[in-house]
Symmetry: C2
Subunit: 373 residues, 2 copies
């Protein structure tokens, strides 16, 4: 499974925090990194040119959504996902597993895979490890994910069964994979149970893969539980490979994840919050719909250098939100993605100068996370 | 009324077509020009940075909408419209008249002005010539418009009364105006009646204003009627002042308007069509939702150099439209505005080289306007 198209340079460690470079066929990913999510092959309301200006590198796209619309064959005919969505830098696709398992009454699981109903037109479809890998090979992302079963994180018995099935499915994914220009990451499952996480980390890392992910977190468990699971898992993953914490993206979760050895994050949070009028900052969140901003001439964050903060007042952005103007989503998405990219850049710098513990402590003591995820 | 902040250089005439430069406190407007509309102080789904890349100069904003939300006082407190919406180039505000008269059952007209109900919250408000000018002075656009009465264009008696009232209101607007860094344009009315248009052009141009507008067209009359009214009106307006045809913006209307001596146009058409999935071209319109584009790897228009056409396929834009992704509106708005800005630039070039008649003939013979406005 070793693949010359991919390599991970570990440049520095500081406690468990790591700074590195993951080399891909579409360029390097400087870690730690935050990947904005382009569910339907577009990071909502932001152009690729704006994303480049934000110094984003890795972008995530969703296999489930693209399989249903416009279809993986069409994306392949159009030259693959990079060309289709005009993102020249690295792309990661998930396996579709998380979305399919989230369909609840619309899906039926068996040992071979999952049968599910499309949320778009109710048509019946089937995903299996082989089908998911086949779709992801057509989409053509740099990093593709093993097809896994995501369980309710607090049910021990179900988590054991789901983890064991995830392991069997990983073996099938590894066998199914054909393209040499894609890196398959395996996924550690096990809910909030340390013994399951340890067992899963051991099994998954027995495959020589170019990277490893931790799935099934940030789905309802407490922060303490998430941290405990990271502390159990990351020491059991090979140090010389990147580690990806799936679906996590609040500023405090990034800082805490990096502290526990995570290299890659993704989340819809910055763009979703943007569409609801919420701005991320290094100290918490601001709801720009709040009347206190109606006559506020200051930028969202006076220390921020993003296009929105260089150009517009809080009063203007609030006006756009009140008037339901699309530009509000664009400006707040630009700002929120900038905040997370800036955060991981500053974290990387702190790790490289061996000051990450102080950086994290300082950040977390100033951060008011009361608004939650 | 002569104002040193504004001057119009007529560089060339070719038949009735004109190329010039209208100098304003926020820079020159090269005419003929198309002004994108930012109804609520934002050209929908497009950032000012993207508008600058499109080489737009003049942008229009709506007094009625901004008066109701966020309010003219707030815009003034935020440094005026240029700073509020971050548009450093010229801005034009309409008088609010057109919107107020469009409210139908929600408004009541008298000799002094109009009482109307807000479409947002039903609250009662009043516009008059003095109030409209006062609001426009607070907003701070470079070009402001006289408060006029827009009548159904086919009712002769109503048009006579509305025109006469528009003339009395123009006198009040001229008296009410105080700021020296704003250019007040008078508006010719008269529906589809040549005698009324001639009378109105004569009266309005008896005021020494920095520019003149033609209102009440593109509101339901035929193309032939619109052309006839332009042919009656423009020869009666002073040659040394810019002429603005309000609310007109389809490619064929621009070409025909320029042919009849118009210098300035504005319209919501490019951004409205964009939100409905329609792309403008030099030969007609394309509905990108059409299934024929599902697997089409070509750009919207292979001769177009806009960001959307340089970067994305028809298949991708159709995918965004099918998936109701906001980026579709942004990309199609960028493309459509680019088409109109390119069209007026090419028209200007043709006028400067005294080849406009051939340019217009060639354009109109290739253009399929069947889709209508």
């Amino acid at each position: 499974m070793t693949n010359n198209n991919f390599s991970f340079e570990l440049l520095a460690t500081d406690g468990n925090a790591r700074a590195g470079i993951f080399h891909t066929p579409h360029g390097p990913i400087l870690t730690p990194i935050f990947a904005p999510v382009g569910t339907q092959a577009t990071v909502k309301s932001v152009t690729p040119a704006q994303l480049e200006e934000l110094e984003a590198s890795l972008v995530l796209a969703n296999t489930y959504h693209l399989y249903l619309r416009p279809g993986a064959e069409l994306v392949a005919e159009m030259g693959g996902l990079h060309r289709f969505m005009a993102w020249p830098k690295p792309i990661l696709t998930d396996s579709g597993g998380f979305q399919v398992f989230s369909l609840n009454e619309l899906r039926k699981i068996d040992e071979d895979g999952v049968t599910f109903k499309s949320h778009i037109d109710g048509s019946m479809h089937r995903f299996s490890p082989e089908i998911s890998i086949g779709i992801q090979e057509k989409l053509g992302a740099d990093i593709i994910m093993a097809f896994d079963e995501c369980a309710n994180p607090t049910d021990y018995e179900y988590n054991r069964l789901a983890m064991e099935r995830t392991h069997r499915w990983l073996e099938r994914c590894v066998k199914a994979k054909q393209r040499q220009d894609q890196a398959l990451f395996g996924i550690v499952q096990g809910g909030i149970f340390a013994d399951l996480r340890a067992e899963s980390a051991g099994y998954v890392s027995s495959f020589d893969l170019p990277g490893y992910a931790i799935g099934g977190l940030s789905v309802g468990e407490t922060k303490a539980e998430m941290h405990a699971m990271l502390e159990v898992t990351t020491p059991l993953l090979p140090a010389e490979k990147p580690r990806y914490l799936m679906g996590v993206g609040s500023p405090e979760d990034l800082v805490n994840g990096i502290l526990r050895g995570i290299d890659i994050f993704d989340c819809v949070l910055p763009t979703r919050l943007a569409r609801h009028g919420s701005a991320m900052t290094f100290t918490g969140r601001m709801n720009l719909l709040n009347a206190v901003y109606a006559q506020d001439p200051r930028p969202i964050d006076e220390s921020c250098t993003c296009y929105a903060c260089r150009t517009f007042s809080r009063a203007y952005i609030r006006h756009l939100l009140m008037a339901k103007e699309m530009l509000s989503g664009t400006l707040l998405s630009i700002h929120n993605i900038h905040v997370l990219e800036r955060l991981v850049r500053e974290a990387r710098k702190a790790i490289l100068s061996r000051k990450y513990a102080a950086f994290a402590k300082n950040f977390l003591s100033n951060y008011n996370g009361k608004a939650g995820n």
